[in-house]
């Protein structure tokens, strides 16, 4: 049986490892990626920019990972076509690969604004190692950087540029505050305070209208929709990502908010599976269909898809699609599930500088935000995920005493039963 995996980030790697673990040594595994070399962590690209990490240390797996796993690794080749009826994929160099089962883990690409000058030298997205390398090569000449987007990627990039020594870093946010998709006003304000203290500047309600090149063709400034033109010799666009669905769509596969997959992560094409940022998932809490775009989900889906490719029929439960953890300076933030609901409880703990927000629907915890101390966050996540009655634990949860809740969630007989013989 020949398994071909397209993409070697979170989903692709998890799938390859699972295919080998559950499929044994006889399964033939091939991995193709358009990235030029070994897999690396995209989430650590800001650390690379900041000079905190090297290209070597952001690799996802130890040296010799693919040979050890028995995977034929084809790096630097884009897959340009998929012919499901012939069970073949075509690489850009003309090569063909036959497969028995295919996993499409092609990820997502940054959304670039459709405004004049977006191709100007000095305008970047931060998605690939190549982006980071090119950006870093400009650093010595950069005095003003402009980040477009107040989401996780934008803020991490902004902080990284500041740490790397760019004197002026401004974040232009389309919304009236930061992290609108992740945090409420209080938590966002905490993040803003932390980042302001680190030397970042913010402009709100700001959309780019044009990127303005200077006399040498490199970026000179960014013109905003309100007419202001701000000088900048580097701009980073961080306005979200779009699933890479082209390969499957052109092959005739169904595409919604991402590649459509069933609960076994099968696409509508025979023997073609998909996982990671390129797929559409159904949110566990809202039932809404959305693109996946989270590291944890990609790894999970990679595992499930691999099991299903081996014929093990493992149904992938609908995931939580808001599941973020980040650190800004000295402030840790975790945000999971819904931000609004029937009952919202909030508390600020002065001693630890921790803000907690809990969102309940009936008896059930459907979302939370922790900013400051995030200890025990996983217990909250587990409650959101399982839907166990949690209202009775609200005081403990609001005080951050998650450990007690773990005990409380044990079945009663277990708590009193003596030695399990």
């Amino acid at each position: 049986m020949h398994f071909v995996v397209i993409g070697t980030s979170a989903a692709g790697i998890a799938a390859l490892e699972t295919l080998r673990r559950l499929g044994g040594t006889r399964a033939r595994l091939t991995a193709v990626t358009d990235e030029p070399s070994e897999p690396y962590s995209r989430c650590l690209l800001p650390d690379l920019l900041a000079g905190k990490k090297s290209e070597y240390s952001i690799r996802l797996r130890p040296a010799g990972f693919f040979p050890k796993l028995g995977v034929e690794f084809l790096a630097g080749f884009k897959v340009v076509a998929l012919h499901p009826e012939e069970k073949k994929v075509f690489l850009e160099d003309g090569r063909q690969l036959s497969f028995d089962r295919l996993l499409v883990a092609t990820g997502a690409s940054p959304v670039m604004p459709e405004v004049p000058g977006v191709d100007t030298r000095g305008v970047f997205a931060l998605r690939t190692l190549q982006d980071a390398r090119e950006m870093a090569s400009l650093f010595p000449r950069v005095s003003r950087a402009m980040i477009l987007g107040g989401g996780l990627v934008g803020l991490k990039a902004a902080l990284a540029l500041k740490v790397a020594g760019v004197p002026h870093v401004t974040v232009a946010v389309a919304s009236p505050r930061l992290l609108t998709r992740q945090l409420d006003e209080e938590a966002a304000a905490m993040v803003e305070r932390e980042l302001t203290a680190a030397g970042l500047e913010f402009i709100y309600n700001a959309q780019p209208r044009a990127f303005v090149p200077g006399p040498h063709g490199t970026l000179a400034g960014v013109e905003l929709a309100d007419g202001r033109e701000l000088p900048a010799d580097l701009a980073v666009v961080a306005k979200g990502v779009r699933p890479n669905v082209q390969l499957v769509r052109e092959a005739g596969g169904l595409v919604g908010a991402g590649i459509e997959v069933d609960r076994y992560l099968r696409t509508s094409l025979p023997d073609v599976f998909a996982a990671g940022d390129c797929v559409q998932v159904t949110d566990r809490l809202t039932g809404r269909k959305t693109n996946s775009a989270l590291w944890t989900l990609a790894a999970e889906q990679g595992r499930y898809a691999a099991a299903n490719m081996l014929g093990l029929a493992r149904s992938y439960p609908p995931p939580l699609t808001r599941l973020n953890s980040a650190r800004f300076g000295n402030l840790d933030v975790v945000a999971v599930g819904k931000m609004e609901g029937e009952e919202v409880l909030r508390a600020f703990e002065g001693t630890t500088g921790t803000y907690r927000r809990l969102v309940f629907e009936g008896d059930r915890l459907v979302g939370f935000i922790l900013a400051g101390k995030v200890k025990g966050a996983g217990v909250y996540t587990a409650l959101v995920k399982t839907g166990r009655p949690a209202w009775k634990w609200r005081h403990l949860l609001l005080e951050g005493r998650a450990g007690r809740v773990v005990l409380g969630c044990l079945p009663p007989q277990r708590r009193v039963e003596s030695k399990i013989s």
Partner: protein
């Protein structure tokens, strides 16, 4: 046959001996006195919680389908050949993003004193007999280190496994 740290909930008196032993075993100095003198800040990787009259130690269960493995975006969390899940000793380094903390249903992952890396049970505290420090220190037998088949598998899983983990797990 791999051995696991199992918890007998009825026997815990909440004496915290396991926490102290765990913290000390993970210092360079290997003794509380010397560690403190050397300026180390011992951190326990096992937790003792109390709810009403009920007390219990909780530590990493080294889950079969560990959510922390899926969540680690640095590739630092890995499973050793003996089944131990750890973010230490591998080629990739923990960056303190707390993704693992966010998904651990037992709340069994903490941070170091400086708050820069995640700390969890790594079983790197075993003595010549292979027994972890917390188990050696437990005076009441609430912590037991034994081959899994010694315990009825369904009871073990009934105790903690299925209850909190929920959601994605299977493969």
């Amino acid at each position: 046959m791999p051995r696991e740290i199992l918890i007998d909930f009825a026997r815990c008196t909440g004496c915290l001996s396991c926490r102290l032993a765990c913290a000390v075993a993970h210092t360079q100095a290997k003794s509380l006195f010397d560690a403190v003198l050397a300026g180390e800040k011992p951190r326990a990787r096992i937790f003792v919680h109390q709810l009403g009259q009920q007390k219990a130690p909780i530590n990493c269960r080294h889950c079969t389908d560990a959510p922390c493995l899926d969540a680690c975006m640095a590739g630092a969390m890995y499973r050793k050949e003996d089944g131990t899940v750890t973010n230490e000793g591998g080629e990739q380094r923990c960056v303190g993003c707390w993704m693992c903390v966010m998904v651990c249903p037992y709340g069994a992952i903490t941070s170091d004193a400086a708050g820069t890396v995640a700390l969890k049970c790594d079983r790197n505290c075993r003595d010549e007999s292979g027994t972890p420090a917390c188990v050696r220190a437990c005076p009441t037998g609430a912590l037991v280190y034994t081959e899994v088949e010694d315990y009825s598998a369904h009871r073990r899983h009934g105790a903690l496994g299925k209850i909190l983990a929920g959601g994605a797990g299977a493969p």
